[in-house]
């Protein structure tokens, strides 16, 4: 099985991403289906107390419920969890065709996670609002584990058997909350029984596993009730005006055939109680503005750019002047890219900008240091046996530190206080002076690591796994930007090249970490320049894709600059889509291999875009150029 990671970056939220033009259509269909699901499947949803709520919609009752009597929710969760622990498996059940009775399995662990989220999403395109919604949802994840920590129902491929997800009452109605939790727990227990039976049978017939670690770590209980979040407040009409103006920029670019500007703001409170005594309530709030656009060269090659702005609330996002300037620059850059010459195969030195290096490390290193990738029959285990050995040049160190809210004053989106298994966030030194120290651990143990280090993360409705938060790459061998550029030219000259490459921006493609695929990574360069040895001006090229193995690329880093850059984005993997950050300085790599990317063959649009002359533009964009 191959996991693909639609990865890091605004690409994930933004409807349009690095993928082929098809994704645009998919997105629309998805959105569209979304509408259909909401409107047409009501009766089906009503059959059981509701599946996970998926839609975005307004909620009149929204603001009312959350902020008031929250102790009730936490209390109801605790009470019902205790009752489940006491009652489940306490009664003897009769066995068919026998007068004997057997005692049912008692769960050794139960946890209830509730995410109470209010959010606003506004989508605009080409100077107009496509969609503007608010929603309030409360969703419960119930985890039931049977057996023993050494071997339980989640073993191997049965990981998700522990999890049952259900929509909870939006108001603090104790009886309804408790009954919903009972319903979910009862179902979850049934699923867990079934899975445990399968696990036991499979373990009998299979060969001994390489990593015979237990299935669940033992942790100290955590109790922490953090300050409540203020209710979400977004001035929707003001933001709608702003978004019209931002996406209206693209009316000046007839060759950019797709654009979008999206605001997402969420205030969430996460409640967690578990049978090992943990009780945590923590706020989580984020606002994100994404601007993305796509164009196509005359040869059919699609090109994509995006800008993401991140803050703890919509009010703290950059002002309109800054966003407009960045959007203008992005649109112009994308337009230039359309007519840039196509790259040639290249194998030589290159600089990755800080932003590009951050994405590169997130993809190439970060994902492979996730604990669960070091065990299991399907995993590639690139770094499993390299613990205590150098995997990077000794001047580089890497930590993942979700406790940081910002870096040099800029907000980091991978910040959290407790992970999704109720464990406190921790700074983890993954690589010290080039040597691999540890992995990103959830409560799934691996050989040599029996405990979580606070990186068990998941989207609601998924089982947590080891994931990144804020990945921070630091360097002990820094030079100025100018010096780094100088070093690039020298390295190119030494290797007999007329130019070196400068990667200004890259988007992540996917990381393949499973055993059957080659250990390759695919990050998609968006903006690449040739830096000529003879002093000619830099030349923008398009169609570059990087090839090679991760370790080789990481070891050939020669030096870095002294100005780390931040990449904020969303990261998708088996445990869902979560916010992450990566911070890295620009890096000079002695050897990087590139080739021309696979590309679409569709022509650019045949008819020019509709003229704007008979229309009063919403944003007052210039009407020239057509």
């Amino acid at each position: 099985m191959t996991y693909t990671f639609p990865e890091a970056g605004p690409s994930l939220i933004s409807p349009d991403s690095y993928r082929s033009a098809v994704s645009r259509f998919d997105f629309h269909q998805k959105l569209f289906w979304h509408v259909l699901i909401v409107s047409l499947c009501g009766p089906a949803l009503a059959v059981v107390p509701t599946a996970v709520a998926q839609d975005v919609g307004s909620a009149q009752s929204a603001a009312v419920a959350s902020s008031m009597q929250q102790p009730l929710l936490m209390d109801a969760m605790g009470t019902e969890l205790q009752r489940a622990l006491t009652e489940l498996g306490s009664a003897a059940t009769p066995v068919a065709s026998s007068s004997e009775k057997v005692l049912a399995q008692k769960p050794y662990f139960i946890s209830y996670t509730v995410a109470d989220a209010e959010s606003v999403t506004i989508t605009s395109q080409y100077g107009a609002i496509m969609n503007s919604n608010e929603s309030h949802e409360r969703t419960a994840d119930v985890q039931v584990r049977l057996g023993t920590p050494a071997e339980d129902n989640t073993h191997g491929a049965h990981r998700s058997s522990a999890l049952t997800t259900m929509a909870l009452p939006l108001a603090d109605d104790r009886a309804a909350i408790e009954r919903t939790l009972w319903y979910a727990t009862n179902r979850g227990y049934g699923k867990a029984l079934d899975a445990l039976e399968k696990v036991k049978t499979e373990q009998q017939v299979r060969a001994r596993e390489e990593d015979s670690s237990p299935d669940f770590t033992e942790e100290r209980p955590q109790v922490d009730i953090l300050a409540k979040e203020s209710p979400l407040s977004v001035d929707r009409s003001a933001w709608e005006s702003r978004l019209r103006e931002i996406s209206g920029v693209f009316r000046q670019y007839p060759n950019i055939f797709y654009d979008t500007a999206v605001l997402q703001a969420t205030h969430e409170t996460d409640y967690f109680v578990s049978s090992d005594g943990t009780k945590v309530e923590a706020p989580n709030h984020v606002a994100r503005l994404i601007v993305a656009a796509r164009t196509r060269a005359s040869d059919g090659m699609d090109m994509f750019r995006d800008e993401t702005f991140e803050a703890d609330s919509a009010g703290h996002l950059p002002d309109q002047t800054e966003v407009m300037a960045k959007t203008q620059a992005m649109a112009k850059g994308l337009n230039d890219l359309r007519t840039a010459p196509i790259t040639e195969p290249y194998n030589g030195p290159a600089i990755l900008s800080g932003r590009a290096a951050a994405v590169f490390f997130h993809e190439v290193l970060g994902h492979r240091l996730e604990g669960q990738r070091q065990r299991g029959d399907e995993e590639g285990e690139t770094f499993t046996k390299l613990l205590g050995k150098p995997i990077l040049p000794e001047f580089l160190s890497v930590a993942d530190d979700p406790t940081l809210t910002n870096y040099n004053g800029y907000p980091l989106s991978g910040h959290y206080l407790f992970d999704n298994e109720g464990q406190p966030a921790q700074r983890v030194q993954l690589v010290k002076d080039g040597v691999l120290q540890t992995f990103l651990m959830s409560r799934l143990p691996i050989a040599g690591f029996a405990n979580s280090n606070g990186h068990g993360r998941a989207e609601i409705g998924k089982m947590p796994t080891g994931r990144q938060g804020n990945l921070i790459v630091t360097s002990a061998k820094t030079v100025s930007d100018a010096k780094l550029r100088q070093m690039l030219k020298e390295a190119a000259r030494k290797q007999g090249k007329t130019y070196g490459l400068y990667f200004e921006d890259i988007s992540s493609g996917f990381a393949v970490t499973t055993r059957r695929s080659p250990q390759a990574f695919q990050v998609i360069p968006l903006v690449v320049y040739r830096v000529y040895v003879d002093g000619r001006p830099d030349e923008l090229v398009r169609g570059v894709s990087i090839v090679g193995t991760p370790q080789a690329a990481l070891r050939s880093i020669v030096a870095t600059d002294d100005q780390p850059e931040i990449f904020n984005g969303l990261c998708g993997a088996e445990s869902g889509t979560i916010p992450v950050s990566a911070v890295a300085p620009a890096m000079l790599v002695s050897q990087i291999e590139t080739q021309r990317q696979a590309q679409g063959t569709s022509r650019p649009p045949i008819v020019p875009p509709p003229p704007l002359d008979d229309v009063a533009s919403a944003s007052g964009s210039p009407k020239g150029g057509r």
């Binding site: 629309h28 107009a128 939006l170 919403a618």
Partner: protein, 554 residues
């Protein structure tokens, strides 16, 4: 009848349709709507400019904008668990390459979708149309080439053309709106879903109710359509439905549930709060009755079963309606349509005392607004009543602009689900008997059969969508009814409705759905002579592993 001569149009000569003339169905001038104006402007531009040099031009383009407004609320165990409202606009562009005789279209339907601006910005709307048109044209070129190549593999030509011409139609209807007292409905849902615990009638078995939920779904759709025939449409519909679902298990683990609701064209047409509560309590009581009901006999029963109007409508919706909706046959075959009635033209498919018509022009029936009613279909063809079955014989299929053998013209049944292309679909199906029996007479006939055969017979009140009975009664010859559980029907098929219906009642039941496409089916009770009632051999689920939390003391 054949229109082939007219349709032998060279592929490169496009847009013949406006020559066919035009029909206006409303006084209002179409140009008044800015959305329609923007759509017409972009359509005109694409019509003149859209061509890759050396390739075919489109011969037909249609733009449809759907403005979809939805509201949903769900309550469970007496608490609201979800409320969502969404307003979205989508444009769908259909481009046809080739000619009416043979074009780029496939049985699945073709076209491209784009999001359209919610705020009516004409520049952004045209931009979305432009983008979708470009996609649709390129896809049509590819599809046309592939289809022509496929056709070369077959000896015989398709049995019908790909498309029928239509006259230009103008229809501007008032906008459909979503009108609903949201707070009132939320309270109703919260109350209804909590009745298992709060109502004295059901309190005694509240513990056994594993789920209890109520939901409301409201939808208002406005569709704006322009095409190169010159047709201009603005029409829409609204639909409201509420559903209550309750259920749990019998002592042997069998899962049992009741789920029903009302559907109407307006929120006020739904059941009142009092009626909703009454129905919910009835559902809870019948759920409890089912828990204690005996399971159906383990040995098969073959014999008479009386179907209520509700159950009869389900039977027709599943066994009959899809088969008279003419779908294009697979490429290379000589069939007329898809489905079991493809070669049943003018032959009996129902008993001679039954006739079936589809009449979407009928806007109400016995005071109820009919959801399946419309004036002009989604392909711009005015609808007419169609006699599908006359005295048992199949005389017509429901046809859109995709003709089938012997039926070269649309009868206005090209209907589209949201975001989809149009297919032949029913609107308001009415099943009538030329010899209707009163409810008493029908029941007497059932009991007479029981006496004659010297055994118990069956009567079904409601079924789920898969024709599995929910409320099924065993009826003894002396008229005593006993609720039974755990049964399925067998041999309930096209043969049963062709030759197995002994009599029909005179009290029509109106079954409506907003669903994927608003449709109405009006059916009488039906007495079948030989249906199999069999015990369902499903795995019995485990009873709850632990009891639910104690209910609050009221």
């Amino acid at each position: 009848m054949r229109m082939r001569a007219l349709l032998m149009i060279p592929a490169l000569c496009s847009f013949v349709a406006p020559a066919l003339g035009s029909v206006a169905l409303a006084e209002a001038p179409p140009a008044a709507d800015p959305i329609l104006t923007a759509m017409q402007q972009e359509l005109a531009r694409e019509k003149s400019d859209l061509v890759i040099p050396g390739m075919l031009r489109p011969y037909f383009i249609q733009y449809r904008l759907e403005d979809i407004h939805t509201y949903d609320a769900i309550a469970s165990y007496g608490a609201l668990t979800r409320e969502s409202e969404n307003h979205q606009r989508v444009v769908r562009v259909e481009v046809r390459i080739g000619s009416e005789v043979s074009d780029s279209s496939s049985a699945r339907g073709d076209g491209s979708l784009e999001l359209a601006p919610g705020d009516g910005d004409p520049a952004a709307l045209k931009y979305a149309l432009w983008s979708a048109t470009d996609d649709a044209y390129k896809n049509a070129l590819r599809a046309y080439a592939a289809k022509q190549a496929t056709l070369k593999n077959f000896q015989s030509a398709p049995t019908a053309n790909d498309f029928t011409p239509a006259k230009a139609v103008t229809l501007i209807e008032p906008m459909a709106t979503l009108t609903l007292d949201r707070d009132d409905w939320k309270h109703r849902l919260i109350e209804a879903s909590g009745l298992f615990d709060t109502s004295p009638e059901t309190r005694s078995f509240a513990e056994a109710v594993e789920y209890s939920s109520a939901n409301l779904s409201a939808l208002a759709v406005n569709r704006y359509t322009v095409n190169t025939d010159g047709t201009v449409l603005r029409h829409g519909y609204s639909g409201y439905s509420e559903t209550v679902s309750v259920g749990g298990q019998a002592a042997d683990g069998m899962e049992l549930g009741r789920s029903n609701g009302s559907v109407a064209a307006t929120a006020t047409g739904l059941e009142s709060a009092a009626a909703l509560n009454k129905r919910t309590i009835d559902d809870l009581i019948s759920f409890n009755d089912l828990r204690h009901a005996p399971t159906v006999d383990p040995e098969d029963y073959h014999g008479p079963v009386l179907f209520s109007g509700d159950a009869s409508a389900d039977v027709f919706n599943r066994l009959f309606v899809p088969n008279v909706e003419a779908d294009r046959p697979d490429i290379g075959t000589s069939a007329r349509t898809q489905g079991v009635y493809q070669s049943s033209y003018k032959t009996p498919i129902l008993p001679s005392f039954l006739s079936v018509a589809d009449d979407p022009t009928m806007r109400s029936f016995e005071g109820h607004a009919l959801l399946g009613a419309y004036k002009v279909d989604d392909e711009g063809v005015p609808v007419e009543p169609v006699d599908i079955v006359v005295h048992g014989k199949l005389m017509n299929y429901l046809i859109g602009r995709q003709p089938v053998k012997d039926f070269p013209e649309s009868n206005g049944h090209g209907r589209a689900m949201l975001g989809q292309s149009a297919h032949s679909r029913a609107g308001v199906v009415i099943i009538k008997s030329s010899d209707p029996l009163s409810a008493d007479a029908l029941r007497a006939k059932l009991l007479a059969l029981a006496k004659e055969q010297g055994r118990d017979v069956y009567e079904v009140e409601t079924m789920n969508g898969e024709l599995v009975p929910r409320l099924l009664y065993r009826v003894s010859p002396d008229g005593k009814r006993t609720l039974v559980r755990g049964a399925i029907f067998d041999e309930l098929d096209q043969r049963a409705i062709r030759s197995g219906i002994l009599a029909a009642g005179g009290k029509p039941y109106i079954a409506q759905q907003v669903g994927l496409l608003p449709e109405t089916t009006i059916a009488p009770e039906l007495l079948f002579g030989d249906i199999t009632v069999r015990r369902a051999n499903e795995e019995q689920q485990k009873l709850p592993y632990y009891p639910p939390p104690a209910l609050p003391q009221n």
